[in-house]
């Protein structure tokens, strides 16, 4: 009896530990539709990478803007689905303090990325990422991985895997503060992760 109780306590502790770990890693390991409450947002790690023209792009240069930061690769089919959405967002919201930044994980760098960018007519800044930057963002291994970053440079939402265009649009509009500022149903301080979208091996 005592042994059974002890075993159950250990099970509860293990579950609590896993829950705490998931909570601490929440903006990376799960798909959270909707933006986090401001108090829950963590700073997006800064980076400096060169774009196709050789110009250095720093995330911190975008402070004051809402940024959609997308890790992708030319060989990633689901990324190819999302990229035209991001082209639309860049076109529609670029004049409203919004920017898309694409970080490619292609191992051969610009050799693959430049022709792809031209073919798909990407209208936002694209950089080839580095291992250091991947590690800062949790060791990106699954693509697409996308972070939506608020005007203060904090991660407001993240998506691992193919999300929906409408989800992204709602999150962007929520962070841009439009339409004139009704509280978005996508803002929640008590959200539950969608465990069906947890990596790996869905």
């Amino acid at each position: 009896m005592k042994l059974a109780l002890h075993k159950r306590t250990l099970q509860y502790l293990a579950i609590a530990g896993i829950a705490a770990y998931l909570a601490s890693c929440s903006f990376y390991t799960a798909d959270w539709p909707g933006v986090k409450d401001e108090k829950e947002r963590k700073k997006a790690p800064d980076f400096a990478l060169k774009d196709a023209s050789g110009e250095v792009v720093k995330l911190s240069d975008y402070r004051g803007k809402v940024v959609l930061l997308n890790f992708w690769a030319t060989w990633c089919g689901p990324c190819e689905v999302e990229i035209p959405w991001f082209v639309d967002f860049q076109r529609e919201y670029k004049d409203r303090d919004f920017a898309v930044l694409g970080l490619s994980l292609d191992e051969d760098g610009w050799t693959s990325v430049k022709p792809f960018v031209a073919r798909e007519k990407l209208n936002y800044r694209v950089m080839v990422t580095s291992e250091e930057v991947d590690q800062l963002y949790g060791g990106v291994e699954h693509l697409p991985t996308t972070f939506v970053i608020d005007r203060e440079g904090r991660v407001a939402s993240s998506h691992v895997g193919l999300a929906s265009k409408n989800t992204y649009r709602q999150e962007i509009l929520t962070l841009l503060g439009s339409p004139k500022n009704e509280k978005s149903p996508l803002v929640s301080s008590n959200r539950m992760p969608r465990f069906d979208l947890l990596r790996p091996g869905r």
Binding site: P78, E141, L143, R199
Partner: protein, 142 residues
């Protein structure tokens, strides 16, 4: 820094029993592979130039590599490619590696090592390309 993600390997290789190889002959080794459910890898001849093919290569060893036979791929449609079927392998499948055994190969145990390069996806996400070590035990007989 954001929480560290665990490395994910969805393709598994079960080393086969030692390959009996007669000096001066040609031999074939079966390379059994199995993918985690829900995942696929591009075949050795993917349907798009941007996709990364499955490729087995050997480092120099006592046997001389004489080609790899890949299984017939499936043509599958996915959520991210609903119109264009992709040439893929999924589930359990087998590669056949061919070798020439030099006539002067010394009798006894030996090993061949190689790399299997692959890139896996499921219906909604892809994993970064991986290089998996493949080791083959060989027993050379005269």
């Amino acid at each position: 820094m954001i929480c560290f993600a665990q490395a994910v390997n969805v393709l598994h290789f079960d080393p086969p029993p030692p390959l009996k190889a007669k000096a001066g002959s040609t031999v074939e080794a079966k390379i059994p592979l199995s993918l985690q459910e829900g995942y696929h890898v591009n075949s050795n001849k993917p349907s798009d130039e941007y996709l990364i093919p499955l490729q087995l290569t050997w480092t120099k060893g006592v046997l001389e590599p004489a080609g790899v036979v890949y299984p017939k791929p499936h043509l599958e449609k996915y959520q991210f490619s609903p119109d264009k079927p992709l040439s893929v392998f999924s589930g359990s499948f087998e590669l056949v590696a061919k070798f020439t055994v030099p006539a002067g190969a010394p009798a006894g145990p030996a090993a061949m090592s190689g790399k299997l390069r692959y890139q896996a996806c499921n219906n909604t996400m892809c994993l970064t390309p991986k290089n998996m070590d493949v080791a083959l035990q060989v027993d050379i007989v005269k």
